[in-house]
Symmetry: none
Subunit: 139 residues, 2 copies
Amino acid sequence: MDKFDQQILALLRADARLPVSQIAREVNLSRSAVSERIRQLEHSGVISGYHAHVAVPGEAAIKVYLELFYNGGRCEHYVELMRVFPEVRRCSGISGETDMLVYIEAPSMLRFSEVRGEIENFPGMQKVKTHMMVKDWVF
Amino acid sequence: MDKFDQQILALLRADARLPVSQIAREVNLSRSAVSERIRQLEHSGVISGYHAHVAVPGEAAIKVYLELFYNGGRCEHYVELMRVFPEVRRCSGISGETDMLVYIEAPSMLRFSEVRGEIENFPGMQKVKTHMMVKDWVF
DNA sequence: AGTGAAACATCTGTTAG
DNA sequence: CTAACAGATGTTTCACT
């Protein structure tokens, strides 16, 4: 994890679709070297994925935390199911009784209800506890 | 913004580097159609960017949600007290029994314990429930 | 570790039908 | 939408620093 790796990470953090050839130019390494470094960074888990940042249609008028309780199935499974909703911004597996904590931003109460309804009907879903966010400070 | 767009968004959210050709296969559209749709989604701002998710070693090694239960005092009061900790990233007043949900990122377990200890000793604090984040997906 | 070059498959953008 | 083409890109391998 030297200076080159850090430069590569910074570039991919800004634009995950930057071509290897261009990265090579900017950090002054060959394509093969950059390819190999990226492969290492991915394999070692430093880069956990590449994701498009999708804006919530409308605006985030409603902010909610859902507590999910389900039986069987790994959390990865449910994450894949919830990924289809742009309103789902974050899924966190946490210690304690709750299986997963899901943060949702929706443009309206109606839309939120739709999303919540679909999540409740996921196979194996046992309970969905809703926590409307009434105040919020982000630092 | 029809069903196809939503499918495309879900795929790019999961893997920003998915080739257009493969997306086309999965949603049963032609490459040109998918290319055009992605172009529209980018230009209209629905897709605001593509980013590598990087786990920086040492930075935010520990992610935790705290459930705060206190008696008396408004949440604004406690927010002011917690603002002194850079590790406190978000404070949310939510509906339900829990008075406040606090998201914390700390560089080490030791440092987190210190912060948690201080929060527990805030005047009026009744209970602090810790939820270590063991898995996490941010979209 | 990195370079440069080559070879090959794949992706993309752009045409034309 | 399909088909086809040209150019760019990713990946791998190799000989050589």
